[in-house]
């Protein structure tokens, strides 16, 4: 068995509520693996179980070939964790946040200092080494948290919503650093509810909804399996977009009605648009685009990712 993370029928319950409802996951060395799903899908609960800070309620979970219930400290020694909410130490400087954290892994002070300096350069915070954490921007804090997750040279890095709450520029900077890590062969496991993030970073992903896995594959495979090549988005100048569904029937494979727009799933967007106009339907705006994971999610769950 060569998967770093191996789960079968993994369950997490909180009282009567089942957050993770029997999922099967295998993460292989060197890949970037994603959990895509809306808030409340069970992604963070899964990540906490993998991070060995939350005991599974049922099923099989093996991480790096070990049992989290028995070998928690030994497993955690080889994981790097970037939590959803930054929990940097506000009483320490940027540099101290890394060196102090390294000590929790039993890393010597000298090695800790060297590695911290290297990592600060890697996340482009070298100039802020002596600063407190508080005045840093959201993006800087997130990069520092990522650097902290790397301080023990982990085999697997767990990133829970690594760019949630960041502005577009900060997100791209984080993505770029994560991509660099991926190229270095570090195994990444991340959760996200952004389809563009999943498409950019993940070699393979599972789509989660309501604690279950509803699909699995590479972004491309998922799109091919669950959506058409292109999508046409139409907005009609009316309260009731659904009224147009019938008039659009037959243009593509499928018509999806959302509160503010209608989606046509088609092989060729331009052809479809021409057909819409030929039927004398006049949308206020129209857009032809490639299918995305958002469409996959909509197809599989009937809901959009970001509400």
């Amino acid at each position: 068995m060569n998967s770093l993370i191996h789960a079968r029928g993994l369950i997490k319950r909180f009282g009567d509520f089942t957050a993770v409802d029997g999922i099967d996951v295998d993460v292989r060395a060197g890949e970037a693996f994603g959990f895509l799903g809306p808030n409340g899908a069970g992604k963070s609960s899964t990540m906490r179980m993998i991070g060995c800070v939350s005991p599974p309620s049922g099923g099989v979970l093996q991480i790096l070939g070990m049992d989290p219930r028995r070998d928690g400290p030994r497993i955690r020694a080889r994981l790097g964790v970037c939590p959803q909410l930054d929990n940097l130490d506000p009483e320490l400087t940027v540099l101290e946040n890394l060196t102090t954290y390294a000590r929790f892994f039993g890393i010597s002070r000298k090695t800790a200092r060297d590695r911290a300096a290297e990592l600060l350069d890697f996340v482009q915070l070298g100039e802020r080494a002596g600063s407190k954490v508080e005045p840093l921007s959201g993006g800087m804090k997130r990069r520092l948290t990522i650097a902290r997750a790397l301080v023990n040279e982990p085999d697997v890095v767990l990133l829970d919503e690594p760019t949630t709450g960041l502005d577009p520029q900060a997100r791209h900077l984080v993505w770029e650093r994560l991509f660099r890590l991926k190229q270095q062969g570090v195994t990444l496991v991340l959760t996200t509810h952004y389809m563009d993030e999943a498409e950019q970073l993940c070699d393979r992903l599972v789509v989660m909804d309501g604690g279950r896995i509803v699909a699995e594959g590479s972004p491309r495979e998922l799109i091919e399996a669950h959506s058409t090549r292109e999508v046409v988005e139409l907005r009609f100048p009316t309260q009731d977009q659904g009224a147009y569904a019938e008039k659009l029937a037959g243009i593509g494979e499928r018509v999806e009605v959302l509160p503010d727009r209608v989606l046509l799933y088609v092989a060729d967007g331009d052809d479809a648009l021409a057909e819409v106009h030929r039927r004398s339907l006049s949308p206020a705006s129209s857009l032809a685009r490639r299918s995305s994971l958002e469409d996959v999610f909509l197809r599989l769950t009937g809901r959009t990712l970001v509400d």
Binding site: F14, V53, R76, V81, G106
Partner: protein
């Protein structure tokens, strides 16, 4: 079989000690001037009490007869109680207010638990830190007692580890209390509780001065046991009762640590 398990146990204990030390080390790194001032305040308090009540009120009270028949000056009687109370309040302020803030508001422990560090090791590390701080106060206060001729240097040397034990025991209790706190408002109750203990633990009056029922109540409180232990040692009257005090405080330490570790695990490792 045996030869295999023993080294493994030893290694586990070693790792536990190393990780607890790393937790304490974090506090050393965070130690900045503002905090150092708070620490000076912690030393000042018992000294002020000693002078105002021990020396000031003591001039009016005169000498105090001990249950054993010996008669001692009032300052001599009060000083060890001030030492015990300051060991208590130092340990409690570190393990309640500061501990709670780190756990709930800075979310520091969540970050630590993502590393090999375990909840019980956080508890141990934080407690050791509280004790490092507490022993600084105790040492300074004992030096003052010796300088004022309220105890002998030899007795002070024995009373020093005893005051550490007092701190450890109250620190473990404080940590347990912290894991049960709902919010900052509950801390008023800790403050009130500490003040009641401070006033009625045989600190200013011998417990024998109270009616029987009250005396019995006083004598089972932890601060009374702490005062009794340190007073016995600093006055040189220690006997079997002080052994009981030590056992009482040791039990408090062990039970407190275990409960705190388990409660932290339930709170943080859901």
């Amino acid at each position: 079989m045996l030869t295999l398990t023993i080294p493994r146990r030893l290694m586990a204990v070693q790792a536990m000690g190393r990780r607890s030390a790393a937790v304490a080390e974090r506090n050393v790194a965070a130690l900045k001037t503002a905090y150092a001032l708070v620490m000076v305040g912690g030393l000042l308090e018992p000294v002020l009490y000693l002078f105002s009540i021990g020396v000031g009120v003591g001039a009016l009270v005169g000498d105090i007869p001990l249950p054993g028949g010996r008669v001692v000056g009032y300052a001599e009687f009060v000083a060890p109680a001030m030492l015990a109370s300051s060991a208590m309040s130092g340990a409690l302020s570190e393990t309640t207010f500061n501990f709670f803030g780190k756990m709930k508001f800075m979310r520091l422990y969540e970050g630590m638990l993502a590393t090999p560090v375990r909840p019980i090791e956080i508890a141990l590390g934080e407690l050791s830190w509280a004790m490092a701080r507490g022993s600084l106060y105790s040492g300074a206060f004992l030096a003052i007692m010796v300088a004022m001729d309220l105890t002998t240097p030899a007795r002070a040397l024995v009373a020093f580890p005893a005051s550490m034990l007092v701190g450890f025991a109250f620190g473990a209790l404080g940590m347990t209390i912290s894991t049960l706190m709902r919010g900052w408002q509950d801390f008023d109750m800790i403050g009130a509780g500490m003040f009641v203990l401070f006033l009625f633990s045989g600190t200013f009056v011998p417990a024998t001065a109270y009616p029987d029922v009250l005396r019995w109540l006083v004598e089972i409180t932890p601060l009374y046991r702490a005062v009794d232990l340190i007073r016995g040692l600093s006055l040189g009257t220690a006997g079997l009762v002080q052994l009981l005090d030590v056992l009482y405080l040791l039990a408090m330490l062990i039970v407190g640590l275990m409960v705190a570790g388990r409660r932290m695990e339930r709170l943080l490792c859901k």
